[in-house]
Symmetry: C2
């Protein structure tokens, strides 16, 4: 492992890259212990703080975990979906908010992905997953629910649909998109009328899933997408008009 002291990216970044490569390529396997910080400092011919900065970079990506004590050290982490979700959601949230992605673009992507899951969900959904969907629909019908809670329940409902497809890779790919959209969705779901309509649409979707009716489920997803976009357009138009009058 060689490090170029004059490389503009910095020593700690190079060391982090070298170790990350070793992990991704399989030269370092799960639960293997890395050399101690002092040993790494000697190997790369840098100081311990520099090594530590590199290790913290890897820890930020959940690639390693550290343990103090006699038999402690840095260990290659088995990257779990649990570890990866929050990172993916943070990244997706910032990508949407910082790049001025149009609501319609995010919405289109979300429902396109959900339609990809729907046929599988219809085929494989467990009674438990169906019960979760029904429970969230019930929650959404409760009066006095805050807008944030309603949206959280909406996300939970759609996540149950996605998870019903029984494919963790799909669930992971969708999690970022759906969760990252929640702030945007929050802005547009605030009228009592839309809650009733959304509840009816959700019920129809759950019915189709329960009945094993794939085309029906797809049609309901289309209806939900159309309605969501309609709401968004109305909200944005109203906002534009308010701006103009001001």
């Amino acid at each position: 492992m060689k490090i170029d002291p004059d490389h503009p990216s910095g020593l700690s970044a190079q060391i982090a890259d070298a170790i990350r490569d070793a992990i991704v390529s399989g030269r370092l396997i799960v639960d293997e212990r890395l050399p101690s910080e002092a040993e790494l400092a000697e190997q790369f011919d840098v100081s311990r703080p520099t090594v530590r900065e590199a290790l913290k970079r890897l820890a930020a990506q959940s690639l390693i975990r550290t343990q103090r004590g006699a038999t402690g050290g840095a260990f290659v982490n088995r990257l779990s979906y649990q570890d990866a979700y929050p990172q993916a959601i943070t990244t997706a949230t910032l990508l949407l908010s910082m790049n001025d992605v149009a609501f319609e673009t995010a919405c289109e992507a979300r429902f396109a992905l959900e339609r990809a899951c729907a046929p599988l969900a219809v085929e494989r959904r467990t009674p438990d997953q169906l019960a979760t969907m029904r429970a969230e629909i019930f929650r959404q019908g409760q009066p006095g629910l805050t807008d944030e809670a309603f949206c959280a329940s909406d996300v939970a409902f759609h996540r149950a649909l996605v998870d019903a497809a029984g494919n963790p890779v799909l669930s992971y790919a969708l999690a970022g998109a759906v969760e990252a959209m929640q702030p945007l969705m929050n802005m547009i779901t605030f009228t009592a009328r839309s809650r009733e309509r959304i509840g009816a649409l959700h019920t129809a979707l759950a019915d189709a899933v329960e009945a094993g009716d794939a085309p029906g489920a797809l049609a309901e997803l289309d209806a939900i997408e159309t309605y969501t976009k309609e709401l968004a357009r109305a909200v944005l138009d109203a906002r534009a008009q308010a701006r103009q009058e001001r």
Copy 2:
């Protein structure tokens, strides 16, 4: 901003979390300059190396960038798709390789996502994107192409299809899944016969996209998925048999 010195996660992790929260919630906006390391150290009542470890964690997620010099410092980074792609791919690759995801599961997810893109791609594809698809098909037909190059071209072809949907959110969601599968795909695409067949399937898919035939494109994607799974099954069966005879 409060920091608990006795929290088991460590000081630098807490500081990183605090700053990350500020970025995600919008209290720190893009291109805003963070206080200098010395100032942060004083604010959080920790030493400069500890602050630096926290900043390196954020830099590892591309949330900040640092600049040396008089007007330098740490700045909130505008997270771009370019920055986010490699991270997502690393994460997805490790998730697949470390968690023993079945090839069929990854394959199913990939084609489900591509089917989600197909109708949009048929509608919106530019002549340029169609030309890219044709060019990759041509490349795949060249004799003497290494397996790795063939697979890379295969990925490029499918990426062109996804990009043709004209939705960056979709492209991003798919990039991880498709790229992360490449090592697995490499294992199963090594027979000359499969290349011919794959070329024919790709051509049919490109034709459907060009003709604006959405159902046709979906059907071709189904055919490619079925064939890919067939190949994988054959390879895995042969390998199992070889293991038994040994």
